[in-house]
Symmetry: C2
Subunit: 451 residues, 2 copies
């Protein structure tokens, strides 16, 4: 009889690896934050005894969901501007507000709000891109969620840095800060080809190489972006990135709605990963990422929510559903992106994109105990013929009951154990007051200047 | 001081009529199942006293959602066959199972499961099409939800009837049964042009005229349907329906993913209503309903979930979000189907399609108290800048707290007041056992016959 920290008896377990497998009446044993057993309940009874034991007979355990692209702190801007196209949304709404309100405190409170929402949605790991990444990393570490924090690089001044060289220098500092952290990793995060110069892109790429970390960038989000680049540089952004040495297996290409066949071949050959954000792309009318084409050539495609200002939620379970439905609709093939593939995109493929699939992304012995439990004993999930179908097509994130990250029970019967939800709500309301005042002031100034 | 049955003080009220209006700190007064007051909380205190008073300070009240196309009883088949195209799904999976298990008891239990799910999703009215419509109507009446029950017509035998003449004769009986019911109405419901002959279509149309009720039909769901009709009849289904006299203001055209410009003009001229089912169309890869084109010529477009076997939920709030996102993505215009329009599609337009917009579909004095309350005091809905944005883009149906139909409180702090949820769950599990046995038997027979 082996003594373990935690033993979970579950109705069903979907491990993601091996593929297309659903274990019924199985248990997971956890020791020192890692999975040490996955076996039938009937055998677990005699093989393991848990310091803590959970019985979740109507629940399914899946690998914790991975949000492969977000701007966590933007949760404080949820719903500030909707029904607008990307460039108008960015330039007339988001950037002016950000300029007026971004501080370390904003990033701390906004990231905490996002992390709380993500944990309640079954997310155990997120890939972030925002200002004050050191603060975002601190919040994630403090709450106990796994994160890859983007070391943002831009060519224009923000509250975080004044020019590319300062962003790059701060990137090095933040990389070092988290270098040995068990949960927090970093990625170079030049914002986009249209906001970062050749030199800074190259330096970011060299740092990614030197630190052995991913490089996370928005690319080919809209046709307008591609056309503007062709006009300005005489080449498409991906071609420019290729020339600068960024097209390689470290690259997480976010959005990628505009991909020609030669670009898809290039991505496949170089091992580029794609972060597909279907709901953000739909909402901002940015275009469609060609998911079936990507999977045909084995490009790793993961899922991201994007920030809450453009989605407007951080719901990876919902993103899975949208990705599956949208791929079917666009390809005119209802068998495209079946449920198991959608789940793999939201788990293992996210881990692969972040270079941490040896640690997380599936429920396998030796991997970190990053686990999400969903309760299927609700009207909305009955009857149960096919667990994978229920998970992807029928239920919502409100059915997430429990979440563990590295064995730590962060969501317990829907209660967050490492976040004070009342304090968080109060702070969010305070931010709302401040931001509404900023909006009113900006509207007044705009009215005066147009007089 | 006027005494009323119920007085609800709310944080916000979105009445849908007038358009684009959000009332803050307003109250609704209900007497004899109807709305008799809608006024600021501060005035309501001195004008009304309620026999029952509710204070919902963090809630928004909206008109109850209307599900303009569903097959309620198919909830018992949720997830039975996914990731398959429409005709294969229908012919090899759905129809054989239906043939083996449809009885009045199946329809009663399946409809009750669907109604329970819909009430918990904020739906106060649904437009159904299924077998044993008398049973579905009885269940809806017993629970207290508003419904339009489709009087189904087909050209082949089912458990409900053997040939068109019997379907039509039973249609008359069911029409009469509910003729004077306060909540239950009926619609003629010939299944689709490809399953109903000219004669039966014409007779159904004449009955709709005679009874003064809508006519509800699947039409132009896929390009395959249109092409097969062109081959068989030498004309497109809409042209055939037009020739047979069905294209008029009673018609609820479900799906309508294949519409040529002349067909859109015809619909606009004749006042045809469209039931758009975006998630079903995506999931079955059926095509895309051209919503922006329809709204440009003022065709009333409402929203439906379709049945739970092809969606796999009955979540009209989610359908609103998908309709708004999909229209933006397909039109490449992020301002297309803004939040207010999506909400109108899910409420007032549904009522117009069903010919009951004088009764329901908006929160106006004199209309029925069909009301849905959603609690926004959750992490997922904060901060609040724009209530309409939160409603359509950020939150899920789990935020629905209360539902009233004709003033009756059917969902109370998420508890169903007229359905025994434990009994319903137990029955659903029993149906699952029976249906799994049917599936196993059919698989065995198929294996034997292919040997």
């Amino acid at each position: 009889m082996q003594h373990v920290d935690t033993l979970i008896y579950a109705g069903w377990i979907i491990p993601v690896v091996p593929e297309n497998v659903v274990y019924e009446q199985h248990a997971l044993a956890i020791q020192d934050g890692k999975i040490v057993g996955l076996l039938p309940n009937s055998e677990a009874v005699s093989r393991f005894s848990g310091r803590i034991t959970h019985r979740l007979p109507s629940h399914v355990l899946i690998p914790g969901l991975i949000n492969t692209h977000t701007h966590a702190a933007m949760s404080l801007l949820r719903g500030i501007a909707d029904d607008l196209p990307l460039q108008q949304w960015l330039q007339t709404r988001i950037w002016p507000v950000e300029q007026a309100c971004i501080t370390p405190e904003f990033v701390a409170d906004g990231t905490r709000l996002a992390v709380a929402e993500m944990l309640r949605s079954g997310v155990t790991c997120f890939n972030d891109m925002y200002f004050f990444p050191d603060v975002a990393g601190d919040v994630a570490a403090e709450v106990g969620i796994r994160a890859t924090i983007g070391l943002i690089v831009l060519d224009f001044p923000t509250a975080w840095a004044n020019q590319a060289s300062e962003y790059l220098s701060k990137a090095k500092d933040v990389y070092k800060k988290f270098q040995h952290h068990p949960l927090i990793r970093t990625a170079m995060a030049p914002h986009a080809p249209y906001t970062v110069s050749d030199n800074a892109l190259q330096e970011a790429s060299e740092l990614a190489e030197q630190f052995n970390i991913p490089l996370h960038i928005h690319v080919h989000e809209t046709i307008e972006e591609v056309e503007a680049a062709e006009k300005e540089f005489g080449e498409r952004p991906i071609s420019r990135l290729h020339r600068l040495g960024l097209i390689n297996s470290r690259l997480i290409a976010v959005h990628a709605t505009q991909l020609q066949n030669d670009e898809i071949k290039l991505f496949a050959r170089e091992g580029v990963k794609v972060a597909h954000c279907p709901e953000s792309n739909l909402k901002l009318a940015s275009g469609f990422c060609p998911v079936p084409k990507l999977s045909r050539v084995n490009i790793v495609t993961a899922l991201g929510t994007d920030g809450a200002a453009s989605n407007n939620d951080l719901d990876v379970l919902g993103e899975m559903r949208t990705a599956a439905l949208l791929a079917k609709g666009l390809s005119r093939d209802a068998s495209c992106v079946p449920a198991a593939e959608a789940l793999r995109m939201a788990t293992l493929n996210g881990a692969k994109a972040l270079g941490i699939d040896h640690i997380t992304g599936s429920l396998e012995i030796g991997k970190s105990a990053d686990i999400t439990a969903l309760d299927l004993n609700h009207l909305e999930s009955l009857p149960i013929y096919n667990i994978l179908s229920q998970l992807v097509y029928a239920i919502g994130r409100d059915k997430v009951s429990d979440v563990w990250v590295a064995g730590r029970h962060l969501l317990k019967a829907r209660v967050l154990t490492s976040i004070d939800i009342h304090e968080l709500q109060a702070k969010t309301w305070l931010w709302r007051e401040r931001i509404v005042k900023i909006l009113q002031k900006q509207a007044k100034e705009a009215a005066q200047s147009s007089e």
